[in-house]
Symmetry: C2
Subunit: 211 residues, 2 copies
């Protein structure tokens, strides 16, 4: 099957498989199975085998998957067998939190550029990175050839930021602003929305009187 | 089909449908279709119809869905036709950001309790909420009957916090800490992990030399 025919929903599960494999490896495992992965993730083993089959043969019947090999393959497929530089726009509480976040290391990403439009913040350092002026953002991102950015501005600024990021050549945007942004079809956008996760869980909470 | 037989992956899509419906309503629409929703979300219309069919009949062949009616049904199914109080544990940059986050309103959640173990922070106010002492967390959460909490502590504190939250009666945890937490089977846990979203997008980025 040609790569372009693989459903986006399958692609979306690959990072989850990679995270589970990394966890298994940290626990000292070298081999796993679609059954074990499925049990950990709440996904059927048949689904996992079918998802992976889009990309080749990774396990042998009865012997399972070599965790290291499969992890490396997934990193290659997801293009995170290298380190992408990432810009963060909007250095408020959330921007600071991301600049200090320990979860990017060894997973393909490094925050390298911070931008804000507040003159009082420009030139300050966060985790050794200098906060750069918003009015130079397009120029700097274009010059550096950055392809990925995170938007952590207030909602009412986010669309303007997204427009400028697209103009600067950004191809993937992760937005924390609680609004839907319009970007051209050749730019990927995803949202961090805690409510989506909370609503998923409240489905399972009984109609308790304590609320 | 009995509610307990509905796959978790289907439940996970309902909040995404609800968010899209809310957006359509804000744009002034009153009626939509599985085709329109599917196009917006990158999910097949057949999948959407199948997902919704677990819960009853929401649309008529040829006339589509009434957005207001379907939204209300989804809110009822997800138990967000009310407001859940939420505790946040760890009031650093991220805790501050969540306490100010505008995206919870009218979506079923309100942050009502903040906890931290730093004596310098206790008693301070964030968005009109007083930061409460961590050593009284179990007592207060139990007394108030809170069922939902968000963990925004450093990774090395997160498991202890989760254990105490479970002891206090919390039934759903949203964790921002970049580690996997162990909780009993009757407690739901989800993670906010920006890397999962970034890796999903880098799949589509070509092997550009600029990185």
């Amino acid at each position: 099957m040609a790569r372009s025919d693989i459903p986006d929903i399958v692609i979306g599960r690959l990072p989850i498989y990679l995270r589970a494999l990394t966890r298994l490896q940290q626990e000292g495992h070298e081999i796993t199975s679609s059954q074990e992965l499925g049990k950990r993730l709440g996904i059927s083993s048949a689904q996992i085998r079918k998802d992976l089959s889009h990309f080749g043969e990774f396990g042998k019947q009865g012997t399972g998957y070599n965790i290291s090999t499969l992890s490396n393959e997934l990193r290659r497929i997801l293009h995170v067998d290298r380190e992408w530089r990432v810009a963060v726009i909007g250095i408020g509480d959330l921007g600071h939190a991301l600049a200090h976040y320990a979860g990017f290391a060894h997973r393909g990403f490094r925050i390298t550029h911070l931008f804000d439009n507040d003159p009082a913040k420009i030139g300050q350092r966060v985790n050794e990175l200098e906060i750069l002026p918003y009015d130079r953002m397009v120029e700097i991102i274009r010059q550096e050839g950055l392809k990925i950015a995170m938007i952590t501005t207030p909602a009412d600024a986010a669309q303007e930021v997204a427009d400028l990021l697209v103009e600067a050549g950004i191809r993937a945007i992760l937005s924390y602003a609680p609004i839907v942004l319009n970007v051209p079809e050749n730019v990927r956008i995803q949202y961090i929305d805690p409510v989506i996760h909370l609503q998923h869980m409240t489905y399972y909470l009984s109609n308790s009187r304590n609320r």
